[in-house]
């Protein structure tokens, strides 16, 4: 198995008022290129911290983080984060401007000179991928929560990084919208060559979305198990296989 992104014995602890609390303990994980992987665990298991370390927002106390065998030092456009908060969109920019923001940043990073028209064209392409091309001139506050997250998704796609990091991005929308977004995400992932590392505490979401599921537990944050999910896409929530895997994971998480 060719390891594209490699986490080697990552440890991270936080200073709390009373004691040092181990947030992550000896995390070892190998992620393949263009893989859809979820990190699943209860709140407080350090899954978000792990994602922040991969993003380069925060540094591990010890251990190594390698991409193509090279050490990752800081945040970059190759690993773009999609957050849960609606406020990740800039309220002072129209929908289209929020997306061109990423197009421009990516172009600058690659030292590409793009014309205004080319930038807009690209942004529109990603907006239409999330089916929001008709909303390009809206301001974020005029959109529903689900639409906001779709714009944010378009922005994340528009940065054209190989890896997309998602920190419970659908955690704040209603369940129906969530299902729509999950479907949209799997479609997009199948169309584009991207690696997705998706953090969630929702077992169904993990089963629905990813090829591999990393199970984590609380105190200290450790990996219990990595489960393969070979179900074909599009997956159906009502299928027998789905529910079998769901129950298996539930058992492993909460025994």
């Amino acid at each position: 198995m060719n390891s594209y992104l490699e986490l080697k014995s990552i440890n991270k602890s936080f200073e709390t008022e009373k004691r040092r609390k181990a947030a992550l303990k000896n995390i070892n994980l190998q992620i393949k290129e263009n893989e859809f992987i979820t990190i699943l665990g209860p709140s407080g298991c350090g899954k978000s911290t792990l994602l922040k370390i991969i993003a380069g927002f925060s540094r591990a106390d010890s251990g190594q983080l390698l991409k193509n065998k090279a050490q990752i030092e800081k945040a970059g456009l190759d690993r773009i984060m999609l957050f849960q908060e609606f406020e990740q969109l800039f309220p002072w920019q129209k929908v289209i401007e929020n997306v061109t923001f990423a197009v421009k940043a990516a172009a600058k990073n690659k030292k590409n000179k793009l014309s205004k028209a080319a930038i807009k064209k690209k942004a529109l392409k990603y907006l239409s991928e999330v089916k929001l091309e008709n909303y390009q001139d809206y301001y974020p506050h005029q959109l529903s929560g689900g639409m906001k997250q779709r714009v944010a998704l378009a922005r994340t796609l528009a940065a054209e990084g190989e890896i997309m990091l998602m920190d419970e991005p659908f955690g704040s929308v209603d369940s129906q919208t969530r299902q729509e977004l999950q479907q949209l995400l799997t479609q997009l992932w199948q169309e584009e060559d991207r690696t997705i590392i998706f953090v969630t505490h929702d077992i169904r979401e993990a089963v629905f979305l990813s090829e591999r599921i990393v199970l984590m537990k609380n105190e200290p944050g450790e990996i219990i198990k990595v489960v393969e999910n070979k179900m074909p896409y599009p997956r159906r929530l009502s299928s027998r296989e789905f529910n079998q895997l769901f129950e298996q994971l539930q058992g492993q998480l909460y025994n």
Partner: protein
């Protein structure tokens, strides 16, 4: 909003009525409490000979210059204090020391250092505007969501891009409210400075207008000056700042 102006109109009418009734009642001599008719006559007279218009322009030009300079300085200072901890220490100390100090208290020093000309008034205005602006801007900068700094890091924005693409627009509501305070304070500073420093060349501003009316014992004239000040103050507040707000932070949903 229409309702607000409607209400305001009613209240102004009521207050004007009370004023006029009090003036007519003769409780006070006309010298202490002139009727509105006298005040408006004085106002019209002052506009007629053209000096009042020149004085208004003179005052406004100093204010605009002062606001512009102070805003530029406040932006530079607040930004450096956002990015550098030692600059933050210095600027915080300066602000703490200077902010509570009324510009008028500095008059004797300003007179010695800058004379009593336009520069002196400009300094008083900048002093009274700079510190609240820095405070507001700093609060604005520090209260932008953490997520923005992460995004800036993620998308590899340099400091300059971060400033202009994120930091300043994200703190615009604070910036605008700072400017509103600045406007009100500069207006006050200007009038008091002009009343203290007197005229510059042939022309003084509105403060000088009031001072002149005062020394010639022209109370309706003094009130006429006050009315002009109020009208300009309200106009700027209600039209210019409202417009800016409607076109920016309100449109963006950053201000309810």
């Amino acid at each position: 909003m229409g309702n607000k102006y409607h209400q305001r109109l009613i209240w102004i009418t009521v207050l004007a009525l009370i004023w006029q009734l009090t003036a007519l009642s003769g409780i006070f001599s006309e010298m202490i409490f002139p009727g509105l008719d006298h005040i408006f006559l004085a106002l019209i007279e002052s506009f007629k000979d053209g000096t009042l218009v020149k004085q208004i322009i003179f005052s406004l030009s100093i204010i605009i210059q002062g606001l512009f300079l102070a805003t530029a300085a406040a932006l530079i200072l607040a930004l450096s204090s956002y990015f550098s901890e030692s600059a933050a220490g210095l600027i915080d100390t300066l602000t703490a020391l200077a902010h509570p100090l009324p510009g008028i208290a500095l008059m004797p020093l300003i007179l010695i250092w800058f004379g009593s000309g336009r520069t002196a008034i400009l300094i008083v205005i900048i002093h009274s505007v700079l510190w609240p602006l820095i405070l507001n801007l700093s609060t604005g900068f520090n209260s932008i969501p953490d997520i923005y700094t992460l995004i800036a890091e993620n998308y590899r924005l340099n400091k300059l891009e971060f400033m202009f693409k994120i930091l300043i627009p994200a703190s615009l509501p604070y910036f605008i409210s700072g400017l509103k305070i600045a406007w009100a304070r500069s207006w006050r500073a200007l009038i008091s400075a002009e009343m203290l420093f007197g005229a510059i060349n042939s022309l003084g501003g509105l403060g000088w207008f009031i001072f002149q009316k005062r020394v010639f014992f022209d109370l309706p004239g003094v009130f006429a000056g006050i009315i002009v000040i109020i009208v300009i103050g309200v106009t700027v507040e209600d039209f210019i700042f409202k417009k800016i707000e409607i076109r920016t932070v309100k449109k963006w949903g950053m201000l309810k």
